[in-house]
């Protein structure tokens, strides 16, 4: 079966790095937050004790920020500067457009059975939200994390009580990020009918032509009209690769759900 290319290898690489660092940050961060409970102690043991957990959290945080900077450079390098502002406002861009509002309303109508499905182009509105949520989350978590990296140095520039405030921002934003990924992002990537057991698009980079035509008719039609469809057709990845993707993906999901469930079950112990 033929596929349309949706993500370039570089973009998939970014997702892979984000995925791995996010999981490590979640595990070490939760271990740190829950170290007063039995479960948190177990988690820190996994990383070789509490001080090691702290160190890993800080270093992987730096790695994440580094990858974010590379991502920013990548964005700046891929923007078509001559064609501004139209080039970043097109349907291939992740910048929210006016159409997204209409599509989201129509989508809700479709969910309620009031009208037909909206005709999505390349990115649906919740996918754009997903991207910008991560963008904003990394700015906020990375920013506060960088300040908290060494409180002795940073308190030379800010009053010490600001650390109390920043610590809470860091904690709540991290909780939001984890809840969003473990509940919503995983649901979309694994449990929707079309994606059921697992959506491989972020790993193999392509989406089945028929599936794309059904889900995102405007995107496929646009490429057909431009005569560009032939250029983006790719072959499906080999079976062995797909097996690896599935095993890897499910390992991550199971690990994250383990964190989610235990964080939830132990939440009341944080208070006492």
């Amino acid at each position: 079966m033929q596929q349309i290319r949706r993500f370039t290898p570089i973009q998939r690489g970014f997702h892979l790095i984000l995925m791995l660092t996010f999981v490590i940050q979640s595990a070490t961060g939760l271990a740190r937050m829950y170290v007063g409970t039995g479960w948190g102690k177990q988690l820190t043991d996994l990383f070789g004790g509490y001080p090691n957990t702290l160190t890993i959290h800080k270093w992987v945080g730096l790695l994440m920020l580094f990858a974010f900077i590379i991502h920013l450079i990548y964005i700046l390098a891929t923007i078509n500067w001559r064609g501004l502002p139209g080039s970043i406002y097109g349907p291939d861009s992740l910048i929210p457009r006016l159409e997204d509002i209409g599509q989201s309303i129509r989508h809700v109508g479709w969910i309620l059975g009031l009208n037909g499905p909206p005709r999505f182009d390349r990115w649906a509105y919740w996918e754009k939200f997903d991207y910008w949520a991560v963008f904003w989350g990394i700015c906020l978590l990375g920013g506060t994390g960088l300040i908290l990296y060494n409180p002795v140095i940073s308190s030379r520039f800010i009053p010490g009580w600001a650390l109390n405030v920043l610590l809470w921002i860091h904690r709540i934003e991290a909780t939001l990020a984890m809840a969003h990924v473990f509940l919503i992002h995983f649901f979309i990537g694994h449990l929707r009918r079309e994606n059921f057991p697992m959506d491989l698009v972020m790993f193999e980079g392509g989406i089945d032509l028929e599936k794309a035509r059904h889900e995102r008719p405007d995107w496929v039609e646009r490429m057909e009209n431009e005569g560009a469809l032939q250029n983006v057709l790719v072959a499906k990845s080999t079976l062995s690769l797909r097996v690896i993707y599935h095993v890897f993906g499910f390992a991550i999901v199971i690990g994250c759900l383990y964190l989610l469930v235990n964080a939830f079950l132990n939440a009341h112990r944080l208070m006492g």
Binding site: G36, H180, L183
Partner: protein
């Protein structure tokens, strides 16, 4: 090769641009005294009128210009608020021994009497004991003039035991921070209160929208008839969807009938 050069040139130009803007902004910032640089330089005169060893002086700083927590030494809002006259007897924060005259003090542990203070990151996470910070008997009250915990010397006598290079600003961190979302914190530490609630609203708002949204999308897609039934699961989904969507459509059609009747009557 050409593409790589273009990227490098672009990154270089943006870097230079950012550097210039940053430099311009930096130069316009007035030279504020840094939070850390408030060491008192005098060797003698501060203690001239008091009986003092002068031992502390080299480490002291002038009291913080801005403390985040509203401190009202006279009246404390715990379970029972204390009036001004009772405060003179019961508020112990200026005593050299904060537990002077307390009954059963030596038979009780710190956390039995101060359960709220036991919930701090240092004790809970790093397993640091109360005495590692508050010192041996007698435990001086926080605001006693010669207490090691007094903000004018806390950084040197308490925090820097473990945090090398701790400054006065650093010691402004609230070890026993008030519960960030409690209503009482709105008065004592408003910034903490409002930021935590702001973030919590963001958290709850995002989840309140996107959790139902995803589940409803998922449910609706399960009932999508236009998708070709590729497997037995798909076939089952299609037949179920036929029933349910038919039901929903009927629901809306029924509603429309009375409306038309009203229109006709009018």
């Amino acid at each position: 090769m050409k593409g790589a050069m273009a990227v490098i040139r672009l990154a270089y130009h943006w870097g230079a641009f950012g550097f210039l803007i940053g430099a311009a902004v930096f130069l316009t910032i007035p030279s504020v005294p840094s939070w850390a640089q408030e060491e008192v330089t005098s060797k003698i005169y501060r203690y001239r009128e008091r009986v003092a060893t002068g031992y502390y002086e080299g480490y002291e700083v002038s009291p913080r210009r801005a403390r985040a927590i509203l401190e009202t030494p006279g009246i404390r809002r715990d379970r029972f608020s204390i009036g001004a006259s009772a405060a003179a007897v019961r508020i112990r924060t200026h005593l050299p021994d904060s537990h002077r005259g307390l009954k059963f003090y030596y038979r009780t542990t710190c956390i039995e009497c101060h359960p709220g203070q036991a919930r701090n990151l240092h004790s809970m996470r790093a397993g640091i004991t109360c005495r590692q910070c508050h010192g041996p008997e007698p435990i001086a009250a926080i605001n006693h003039y010669y207490s090691a915990m007094n903000t004018i010397r806390r950084h040197a006598y308490v925090c820097s035991k473990c945090h090398e290079g701790a400054t006065a600003s650093f010691s402004g961190f609230y070890v026993h921070e008030p519960p960030s979302t409690a209503l009482s914190t709105r008065e004592s530490f408003p910034l903490l209160f409002y930021t935590s609630w702001g973030m919590l609203v963001l958290l709850l708002g995002t989840l309140a929208f996107f959790v139902p949204h995803s589940f409803m999308v998922g449910f609706r897609e399960l009932l999508d008839k236009t998708k070709a039934p590729e497997s037995s699961v798909g076939k089952l989904a299609n037949s179920v969807s036929h029933r349910i969507m038919g039901g929903i459509r009927k629901l809306f059609e029924k509603k429309k009938v009375p409306e038309n009747e009203v229109d006709d009557a009018a």
